[in-house]
Amino acid sequence: MSPEMPGTKSDEPERPDDWWREQLSNLYGLFVVSMMMFDGRDPDDILRLATTSLPALCACTLDSVYLRVEEVLAPAHGDRPDPVLVEALVSLDGHSGPIPAADGGWRWAMALGSPAELLGYLVVCSADAPSADEFFLVKALAQQTSGALASARLHQREREQSAALLALNTELQTLNGRLSTTVARLEKQTEVLERLSEATASGAGEAGIVLALHELTGLPAVVEDRFGNLLAWAGPDRPDPYPKAVAHRREGLLRQAAAVPHPIRVQSRVISLAKPRQEVLGVVALVDPRHAAGDQEVFALEYATTVLALELSHQRSLAEAELRLRRDLVDDLIAGTDEHSAYARADALGHDLRGPHHVVVVKWSRTQTDDAVASAAAGTVGALQLPSLISRRAGSVVLLAHGSLDGDGLHRALAEKLGGTAGAIGIGGRCRGPTDVPRSYSEAVRAADVRRDSRSPDGVTSYDQLGLYRILDTGAGSGAVEEFVQEWLGELLAYDHRKNTDLVHTLSQYLECGGNYDETAAALLIHRSTLRYRLGRIRKIGGHDLNDVDDRLNLHVATRAWQVLQRPE
């Protein structure tokens, strides 16, 4: 604590009432100033109040103010330090005390704070030493100033801590906001994953996937095949009939969508390609004319596309596997296999091999690929509800059809699907069991070949309809047939060969047309007189009478046999 001021008298004189009134009034003034110092002012303002109040309380004036900043005493308000004064202040060691004045007057340093936590010094001076009453007021002012500075410093620390806390709180709130957003997004995405996974697991296929997508986004959802045909729709406002873009536009759209790894907006739709292994299996779209789809909706679309790609890929793999198994079974049955194994394999494929079957061989125009014919045949038997197993050989498609068979209906349906009638169908004899299949197959092939080489090659021929052709075999044991042909057509064949003419074919057409001149000429695309000339040459070279019934029959059989024999295998 500050020492007592030297010279203070202990025996105070008698004070008049006015003196007491003034002293009390001074204390009131000091009290009010003290209140002001503590009303949240900054240290500079507190010091300003203290120094300006000093002359109102006593005859002293302010000499200087020093504050301790980082363990060093420095003048307040940026004044130049007085080294002598600083040294004297340091020597006080945190206490109040006298400071020598250069002019010999009175100078006193009032410590602000305590020796333990010194805030600075208020240095006051006057020509003469103040009275004890005045010194008391100065000391009280210094104490109030000291308290106010300490309080201000605490407030400053509190404000800094509050600001730091506020900054932390703001940062925390920002982080919480981000976290909440992330959690909400993850929850939404989890909902999308769960809902679409459920749809897939339920086996509802593309219909289940678009329904889930619609429910998750609130937007109509669509699945189309790669050609733009509608596979599934969920949601309101489904157009009827469903519009389909022309092929080149559709291809352009698919190229545009395939060029980027995310969904794209095309007019009122956001579309995404189901494209496993670079092959487009389908297109998923959200119908969004109001452009309401945001990140979450696009996420749902992307995941639905992934799920759909897996679904379509799986479906295709199953279909391909089943097709391959069916083809293998047909091929094995044609080659000959045991009944037990054949029944078991057919059962596994869902085909009832028991009961009557026919082998059907389809040989279509070479303008159609085998794939196209096979695909059309599969679709046709499905549409005709004809249970069948399908395989494919070079240049032909083979069906093993169950039950009675409408050959003409099958031909019409196939012709409609393939866009033309240029094709022959041969139907083999009835199979009572798997072991009959090889025979029925060879019969079907023979019937198809005969049909294709006939005057009307487009149509259906069953083996049962072949008649004479059934005995005109080109295989082993055909020597008698060749001899018969040579006997009746030898001269003409030699002539044709030598002269490079076509008299045997002319004769064949004449007999097929029942001897009708006009029909024959039209079929051969020659004039009637040319036909008459050729027939004259035939009679002369062959030496046969075309009007004789027996000759005519033998010649007809010979020409048909010749057709069978001349056909390359």
Partner: protein
């Protein structure tokens, strides 16, 4: 005259006729929060209200008070200053004239006067403080004759301890920081207030 019309409050604290308050405030916003309700209350009660404000406040304060009632507003040149120089005599002439027209004539049962002393900060000098103190002491004596309360408003952002302490010593009541501090030992002569 009903008792209620003779009452006045400041910041929720009741004042009595003859009260002369030294009101310390920080900044004009705090002053307005205290002053405007005080003036408006007087106008509502039918009191004669005289406000000697800062420069340029004549119209703005009138507008904020709605411009109704027995209100007079002056600026420093209308009261304390004559041609920019401090003139206590002019002030008391103005006060006497106002009292004659309002309280003494019976036009109003009660009076309220408030003066913003901010103008003094521009003229501050060691010689001005005793003159201001003398004026405040004179006002305390003068207003005892009338049913009147007077507020002297000092902005703490403009004045320091050299004026605050003398004003505390010269006023019976001091308002600051929302508190009314009574000073039963206020001094009644300039010499005892201001050290020379």
């Amino acid at each position: 005259m009903p008792e209620t019309t003779m009452a006045a409050t400041l910041g929720g604290v009741s004042l009595d006729a003859g009260d002369h308050l030294c009101v310390f405030y920080r900044g004009q916003e705090e002053r307005d929060r205290l002053l405007l309700p005080f003036l408006a209350e007087g106008l509502r009660a039918g009191h004669a209200v005289l406000y000697l404000g800062r420069e340029g406040e004549k119209d703005t304060i009138a507008a904020r008070l709605g411009g109704r009632g027995n209100l007079e507003i002056g600026e420093p040149e209308d009261g304390h200053l004559r041609d920019g120089r401090y003139s206590p005599e002019d002030l008391f002439e103005r006060l006497d004239d106002w009292v004659a027209r309002t309280l003494s004539s019976g036009a109003a049962p009660f009076g309220r006067t408030a003066g913003d002393m901010s103008w003094a900060s521009r003229l501050m000098s060691p010689g001005l403080v005793p003159e201001l103190v003398g004026e405040e002491i004179a006002v305390t004596r003068w207003l005892r004759q009338y049913p009147l309360v007077v507020l002297c408003l000092y902005d703490l952002d403009l004045f320091g301890g050299e004026l605050i302490i003398p004003m505390v010593k010269a006023h019976p009541k001091v308002w600051m920081a929302g508190t009314l501090v009574e000073n039963p030992y206020y001094l009644r002569s300039t010499e005892s207030v201001v050290r020379r």
